[in-house]
């Protein structure tokens, strides 16, 4: 490689950078790149804060409008949207510091923590569905877990996005139930190898090939996860009797201990009479 190659590469790189001179933002560094655009860390000169700046092709301008409709604690808030001199569009949003879900799972979080995250994702999805928005591309790379445990679902889909194969429903037309499929796939992805069968069954029901066999909506899936969390039977799995018995024992362990203590006291008193 000679000098002219490196100069050329540098020029190409600089030319690809967005021209932000007409905006209040100052580019810092690239933090992510996907098929639909590039995300940069930038500084808002006016407010003196760091933001994430997503630069998209002008055809994707609808994405910012979609996200702006979704004001929810688990959805990254949009601060501003606009156009660049080269006709590309941008939107500024909260810069989330933390880990992508797939990286977060590398830290081996507890099952309870995994379920907390999937609940937050499901709540964001349920909220978006009530606003008529579907995600279309829910996957670990689109979920961020902040340093204080906050969860954000990002990259809300637009028509051009068809989803990521492992998380995409085999449906001809994507709708809410396609998001339910992706949520199930995300749950399955998040479960450790030793996950309880009930949770695997919940993921399996959400990922049924027939959309009508899936949960009707995100709250129904979340309700099944909640049932699991409090020790109740889940809708997705008809458990064997021995499993039901074990679950009952686990759920009522304290009461069983107290009853056993009572029986122990009675036996003790009964036999003490004959000593």
């Amino acid at each position: 490689m000679d000098v002219s190659d490196s100069v050329l590469r540098h020029l190409r790189h600089v030319a690809a950078l967005p021209d932000l001179t007409s905006t209040r933002y100052e580019l810092e560094s690239e933090i992510g790149r996907g098929g639909m655009g590039v995300v940069y860390a930038a500084r808002d000169r006016q407010l003196g804060r760091r933001v994430a700046l997503k630069i998209l092709d002008s055809a994707m301008a609808g994405e910012a409008r979609i996200m702006a409709q979704l004001e929810h604690p688990a959805i990254v808030p949009i601060y501003e949207a606009g156009a660049l001199p080269d006709d590309r569009v941008f939107y500024a949003m909260k810069l989330v510091t933390g880990a992508r879900l797939d990286h977060f799972l590398g830290g081996s979080p507890s099952l309870a923590e995994r379920l907390r995250v999937i609940r937050r994702v499901g709540e964001a999805l349920a909220f978006a569905h009530t606003r008529g928005v579907i995600h279309r591309d829910l996957k670990p790379q689109n979920v961020m877990v902040g340093e204080f445990g906050e969860v954000y679902v990002m990259d809300w889909g637009v028509d051009a996005v068809a989803g990521t194969p492992a998380f995409r429903a085999p449906d001809a037309r994507l709708d809410r139930r396609s998001d339910i499929y992706a949520l199930g796939a995300l749950l399955r992805f998040m479960l450790p190898a030793s996950a309880p069968l009930a949770l695997s069954a919940i993921a399996g029901k959400a990922m049924q090939a027939d959309p009508c066999a899936r949960y009707p909506d995100a709250p129904a899936l979340l309700a099944d996860i909640e049932r699991f969390a409090v020790g109740l039977a889940v809708e997705a799995w008809s458990e064997p009797w021995w499993h039901r018995l074990r679950r009952f024992g686990a759920r009522n362990a304290l009461l069983l201990w107290l009853l056993a203590a009572y029986a122990g006291v009675r036996f003790l008193l009964f036999f003490l009479r004959y000593l």
């Binding site: 304290l254 009853l259 203590a261 009572y262 006291v265 009675r266 008193l269």
Partner: protein, 122 residues
């Protein structure tokens, strides 16, 4: 069902069942009905107090402790007025009374709708 009512019902049932265990002692057969009635009343009083406590404080730990304490206290009072073969059956009445009180305390925390609840430190 509110917690006081839960306490009364649970206390009545557990008290009656606890009293019925006297059947295992042949010398008490002639007094079994009286023992069951007395034990049921004791259970209901413990249930009433435990239910009242559960309405005010939602804490399993404290619910069990307070139920056990009430159970022990009322079992002591019963044993103090009762005499079998010239002695007070403290051990025979207070030990099961303590555990039954704990169970009533547990059930009044677990079941029923709380009133104006005050969250205790778990």
């Amino acid at each position: 069902m509110n917690k006081i009512l839960v306490g009364l019902v649970v206390g009545l049932v557990l008290g009656a069942m606890d009293g019925a265990t006297a059947w295992f002692y042949p010398e008490t057969h002639s007094m079994l009905a009286g023992i069951m009635v007395g034990s049921s009343i004791k259970g209901m009083v413990v249930g009433l107090l435990s239910g009242w406590f559960a309405r005010r404080v939602q804490s399993m730990k404290w619910g069990i402790a307070v139920g056990a304490a009430f159970g022990l206290l009322f079992a002591f009072l019963v044993a103090a007025v009762d005499t079998v073969n010239g002695r007070h059956p403290y051990l025979e009445i207070m030990m099961p009374g303590f555990v039954v009180g704990a169970i009533i305390g547990f059930l009044t925390q677990r079941m029923g709708t709380p009133g104006r609840a005050r969250e205790a430190e778990k």
